[in-house]
């Protein structure tokens, strides 16, 4: 760990009481109903609470809450780019920054960005880029940041949705919205929009093979802009999983559209 001289430092090592109080029995069963009462093997996404334009300083912003997963995303720019190379002359540059608040997960997340944040930033970038009309913004840079305030699972999927809403709220030209959906495969069964425990429980027990999948989807263009899976899946479960996630995105679509319409109406001058 690089030492951090620009922050108030605590003791060199400390341990979360969660680790001491942890009981293997608490690990989730792979059968029966889910802990929050949702259905297994169905496209049962958590209801989302979404708002646009909450942050006064940003060009565009969005907040999304799905169960206890809470994220906020802001968009700044287009502004003149920091770096200049020849591709910048023809099209704009999109930057993404995903961070987890230190208190967002069961174990405290250190301030210094880890490789997980960088990985998520990259995946967010690749998921959003195909949807943004970057050639409309030559020599410019559009900055998207996402802060995960609480991670109760499916953070990347919701980050994608939240960030694309913030981009739309900022009036950035886009070919389509981007929606995200995750899925967790447990043996032959799956759960959609998994919670934190459903995502991470496998690390501690069970011999059943598990896999995680996140899809970013452009609903009206029917294009997949982001895909990431890990764990163990067969080709069939992966393919079925992708289809399920697309369905999950379509479930989200009307809600997101409604929020966006509302935001646009609010921003537009009253018609006479």
């Amino acid at each position: 760990m690089p030492t951090d001289t620009k922050r108030v430092r605590g003791p060199d090592v400390s341990q979360s009481p969660v680790l001491l109080g942890y009981k293997p029995a608490a690990v989730l069963a792979s059968r029966g109903p889910r802990e929050d009462g949702r259905q297994r093997d169905q496209v049962d996404v958590r209801p989302v609470f979404v708002r646009c334009g909450l942050v006064s300083q940003a060009k565009g912003s969005a907040y999304i809450e799905a169960g206890n997963t809470k994220l906020i995303s802001c968009v700044y720019g287009p502004r003149e780019t920091d770096r200049k190379d020849e591709t910048d002359m023809k099209s704009g540059r999109l930057t993404t920054d995903v961070r987890f608040a230190p208190f967002s997960c069961p174990e405290r997340v250190p301030w210094i960005q880890g490789s997980q944040d960088k990985d998520l930033s990259l995946m967010l970038h690749e998921s959003l880029q195909p949807a943004v009309c970057l050639q409309r913004y030559p020599r410019s840079q559009i900055d998207v940041s996402v802060m995960v305030l609480e991670n109760s699972g499916s953070a990347l999927a919701h980050a994608v949705t939240c960030a694309s809403l913030a981009l739309a709220d900022a009036g950035i030209e886009m070919y389509d919205l981007v929606l995200g959906c995750s899925l967790q495969q447990v043996g032959s069964s799956y759960v959609v929009d998994p919670s934190y425990l459903e995502e991470n429980g496998w690390r501690c027990n069970s011999s059943e093979s598990r896999g995680g999948l996140t899809v970013a989807f452009l609903p009206s263009l029917n294009q997949i802009s982001g895909l990431q899976s890990d764990g163990e899946m067969s080709e069939e479960t992966l393919t079925a999983g992708v289809r399920t996630c697309i369905e999950g995105c379509y479930k989200l679509y009307p809600v997101i559209q409604k929020v966006l319409t509302k935001a646009v109406r609010r921003a537009a001058p009253p018609s006479t």
């Binding site: 108030v8 809470k70 920054d97 967002s104 940041s145």
Partner: protein
């Protein structure tokens, strides 16, 4: 016309309001923006609070972890406060390590915790010389529209007041810590500091709770921190134009009134949470 004036000559624009004893957003000189408080919204934190001061939004989450006390202070725990100004909250901040302003804010909060003794560090000791709590108080700005310090202090105080720690005992035989999540207790809050910040325009006009724009146009700033027993915990004036004793008294008077308002707000919100449960 007005919009053009506002952006082209921002200082003149503000002066034109101050002459009339009011501010562009309609406030009087000694009026705070509306303050809202939301507690316990982050379930992954042991205590949390979200404060809005007009547009300015601050969230504070408390995470408690176990560690060994230092040799110098075997009977004390740690409190580690950090303020972060992520690029998300304003275009003035870039990704990377904390800038000067964030570092200064962290230090300010650390000083208040130290001087006011919000929490006695002795309360965080579990086994003398063996085991204690470290309270990570992570404060983050989500919308930067001026006067983050006042909002940070409210968020910190409210978050600490809602923090609950599980019971931890040291097993006599194995000398390993054991955690009982069934039994939780609240932190003992000894003092309730409240911060009140001012800006001075043209070396003479004093306004309270400045917006980001007001901060950037002002000639000096002042922050007063006071607890419920009217003890000053901090008086912070980072340079700028000098201030008369008379003005300073005025500030302290305003702070005394504000302190009561904040205490009431926190009590009210905590009570409403309890009844909601």
């Amino acid at each position: 016309m007005a919009a053009g004036f506002k952006t082209a000559e921002p200082l003149e624009y503000h002066r034109s309001f101050l002459k009339e004893n009011c501010r562009p957003d309609g406030r009087e000189l000694s009026e705070f923006r509306s303050t809202t408080l939301n507690i316990g919204s982050i379930s992954t934190a042991d205590g949390s609070a979200l404060v809005k001061l007009g547009n300015t939004t601050i969230i504070c989450g408390i995470k408690a972890e176990l560690t060994n006390p230092t040799v110098d202070a075997p009977g004390k725990g740690y409190i580690v406060p950090n303020v972060d100004l992520p690029p998300l909250c304003s275009s003035r901040f870039r990704p990377g390590p904390p800038g000067e302003q964030a570092q200064a804010a962290s230090q300010f909060i650390a000083d208040i915790i130290e001087s006011s003794e919000v929490i006695k560090k002795e309360d965080l000791c579990i086994g003398r010389g063996k085991l204690c709590w470290v309270l990570y108080c992570d404060i983050m700005c989500l919308d930067y529209d001026g006067n983050i310090l006042d909002a940070c202090v409210v968020a910190l105080l409210a978050a600490l007041k809602t923090t609950q720690l599980p019971e931890v005992t040291i097993n006599k035989e194995t000398s390993a810590p054991e955690v009982n999540f069934e039994k939780k207790h609240k932190l003992n809050i000894h003092r309730h500091p409240v911060s009140v910040s001012f800006c001075i325009f043209d070396d003479s006009i004093l306004i309270v709770d400045p917006t980001a724009e007001e901060e950037s146009l002002s000639t000096a700033r002042l922050t007063v921190v006071m607890d419920e027993e009217d003890q000053l915990c901090s008086l912070h004036k980072p340079g700028g134009t000098p201030l008369s004793g008379e003005k300073l008294q005025e500030c302290i008077k305003r702070a005394t009134a504000r302190k009561g308002e904040i205490h009431k707000l926190i009590e009210k919100v905590i009570k409403s949470m309890k009844t909601a449960q």
